[in-house]
Amino acid sequence: MKTGLRLAALCLATALSSPALAQDNMDRLQSMQRTDAQFTYVEQSGQRADALKAILPHIKVPSGFEVSLYAIVPDARSMAVAPQGTVVFVGTRKDKVWSVVDRDRDRIADQVMDFAPSVTFDIPNGPCFSPDGFLYIAERNRVLQFPAAEFFFEGPDPAVAIVVPQGELIPVEEESFNHTARVCRVGPDGKLYISLGQPHNVQPVDKHEMYDKEGIGGIIRINTDGSNREVYTRGIRNSVGHDFNPANGDLWFTDNQVDGMGDDTPPGELNRQTAAGQHFGFPWTNSRVEIPEYRKVPRPEGVDFVEPQVEMEAHAADLGMSFYRGKSFPSEYHGGIFSAQHGSWNRTTPIGARVMFTSLDENGDAAETKVFAEGWLDQETGEYRGRPMDIAFLPDGSMLISDDFAGAIWRITYEGDLQE
C-alpha cells in the first residue's frame, strides 16, 4: 500500500481532442518537463452571475449576517483554503479541481481556473492542506500531493507527488461513482485522514468483513508519504465531511443514512470520535436504528457502538463540516461546528439544502444544533435553488459555502457589532 514519495513534474498530452489526453502519464512525470496543457477559465460575470445573485434574497441568515456570491465554480464540492488565503482549491465529482483566486482581497473571486490541467483527475472531490502548504487531493482511487500549491497553481504543470498510487486506496473491483466523494484532512498528528464511503445502500453481508478491514465505510489514516495505513474510524455508511476540534483534537464527522426505510428514519448523524478504532455501528445500526439486513448478522466482538452526538433530520444529507476557528463571527459561534445539508432526493417532502450550526459544551460534547442559513430549497415547489455541500473559512473568519447544484461558492460575513 505504501510507496516512496515520488516527486515529479507533469508531462502530458497534446491537443484537447486527442485521446492521448486521457492517458494518465504519472509514471512518466519524473522529468520535470513542461506540457502544453491549457487552463480552462470560468467567466465570473454576465448572465450566470446575475442568475446566481438573484438567489441571494432567498437566503435567510441570523441578524447581522450577510450573504454574497464569492465565485462561480461549476460542480463545486469540498474546499481547501490555502494558508495565505489567496486561493481556495475546490474539488468536483467530475475531473477538475478549481483554483478560486482572490488576489486583491476584495472577497470576491477575481479568477477561477482549473488546477493542474496536465493531470488527468478522476473524481477529485477532496482537497486538503497541511499547515506547511502541501495540498493533498483524494480522488476515487488515488491520493496526490502538490507541494506549495498556493504558488505553483499559476502554471499548468505544478510539481506533484503520489501519496497513494492509482488503484491502491480501495480494491479496484469496489470502485463506484456514488459514495466516492472522498474528503481529506490533515490531523493534529500530521497524518492524512481520508473518508472511504461504502458503495451500496447497505453493503451485502458477504462484504462487511472485507470492508471493515480496508476501511471502506470508514475513515483511514496514513502518513503523508502514504505509509502506515490504518483504519481509524469504523462503522460508517458514507461520510462526506470531517474536521478536528481545534480545542482538543477530537475527530468529528457527518454520516449519510440508509435510504428506503421511510421518510423520517434513520436520522442523519454528527459524530464525535475520541480514540482510534471506534466503531459507529453501521451496517448494524444507523443512529440507533437497526438495519433489517443485519439483524441476524453477528456484531463485531468486543466492540461498543458509539452513538451520534447529534441526530439530524432524516435524508437531509449532512455533508461537509468545519469547526469555526475565526474571530469575526459573534462569540457564540466560536469553537462550534458548521455543517452543510445537501438536501434530500427521495423524501416525500424535500428537506435540507441549508447550513446547520452545532455548539459544544465544556466537555466537548454537542450542546445545541440549529439552522444557520437556509433558503436554497424552494418550499413551494420543492425545487432546489442551490445545494450547499461544504463549509470552509477564509483567514478573515468569513464563511464559504460550496454549492454543486448552482455551481457557486457563497460567502457569509458578520456585519453586526461584535461588542457584546
Binding site: L16, S17, S18, P19, A20, L21, A22, Q23, D24, D75, T92, R93, K94, D95, T120, D122, I123, R140, V172, E173, E175, S176, F177, N178, H179, P199, H200, N201, D259, G260, G343, S344, W345, N346, P350, Y384, D404, F405
Partner: protein
C-alpha cells in the same frame, strides 16, 4: 488509443454486431406503450437527480431525456429485479410496476435531445460508434445516448462492464478488451459533445 488496440477493439466489436442483430432488433418490434401523462407524475421522484426533462442534475446521474424507451425500460427493470445495482436506483425502482416503468420510459423518451459534436467525427472511438454514434446518439434501441454524459459516468459504467459488475451481451465483451486509458478516452469523447434537451409535454 494505439493502432493495435483499436484493431483489437474492432474485432471484438464485430463479434458484438452479431449479438446486436440477434438481440436488439426483436426489441424494435416491441415498442413500449407507456402513458406519458402518468409518467410525468411519477417523474417527480426522479427530478432531483435527472430533472423533469431528463437533463442530469448531479454528476453521478446520466441524462435520460430523449433516451430510447426500450433502454430506459430494460434498465429500470434491471434495477428493480437486481440484475443491475445502484445504491439509489435499486431503491427507487424496487416498487415500480411494469406499467409504471413503461410510463416513466415514455415520459423521458419523449423529450427532444440535440447534439453538437465538438471535434472531427473521424476521431470517434471506433468500438462505440455503431451503436452509440460518433455524436453519442443511440443508433439501436438497446443502446443509451452517451452525448454529454459526465466522463466519469461513462468511465464508471465501462469499468463495471469490464469487471462483470454490470453485464450486457455486447458491452461486457467490448469493455473486457479496453485499458483504463482507452476507457477514459472514449468517456472524454462523448462527454465533450454539447447537448440540449427540450422538454416535450
Amino acid at each position: 488509443m494505439s493502432h493495435r488496440s483499436a484493431r483489437f477493439l474492432g474485432e471484438s466489436f464485430l463479434a458484438g454486431v452479431a449479438f446486436a442483430v440477434a438481440l436488439v432488433f426483436p426489441a424494435l418490434a416491441d415498442e413500449p406503450g407507456g402513458d406519458r401523462e402518468a409518467g410525468k407524475r411519477l417523474a417527480g421522484q426522479c427530478r432531483t437527480c435527472h430533472g423533469m426533462e431528463g437533463l442530469a442534475q448531479i454528476p453521478i446521474a446520466p441524462h435520460i431525456g430523449g433516451e430510447p424507451a426500450v433502454y430506459l425500460e430494460s434498465q429500470l427493470k434491471a434495477f428493480r429485479d437486481g440484475q443491475r445495482e445502484h445504491e439509489m436506483m435499486s431503491i427507487v425502482a424496487r416498487g415500480l410496476s411494469d406499467a409504471q416503468i413503461a410510463d416513466l420510459a415514455a415520459w423521458y423518451a419523449g423529450h427532444q435531445i440535440e447534439v453538437e459534436l465538438q471535434a472531427d467525427q473521424a476521431q470517434a472511438p471506433a468500438a462505440c460508434v455503431m451503436c452509440h454514434g460518433a455524436d453519442g446518439l443511440h443508433q439501436v434501441p438497446d443502446a443509451p445516448n452517451l452525448a454529454g454524459e459526465a466522463n466519469i459516468y461513462i468511465d464508471t459504467q465501462l469499468k463495471a462492464f469490464r469487471s462483470g459488475r454490470r453485464s450486457h451481451d455486447i458491452m461486457s465483451e467490448i469493455a473486457a478488451a479496453m485499458t483504463d486509458q482507452e476507457i477514459r478516452a472514449a468517456a472524454d469523447w462523448y462527454a465533450d459533445v454539447k447537448i440540449t434537451i427540450t422538454e416535450v409535454e
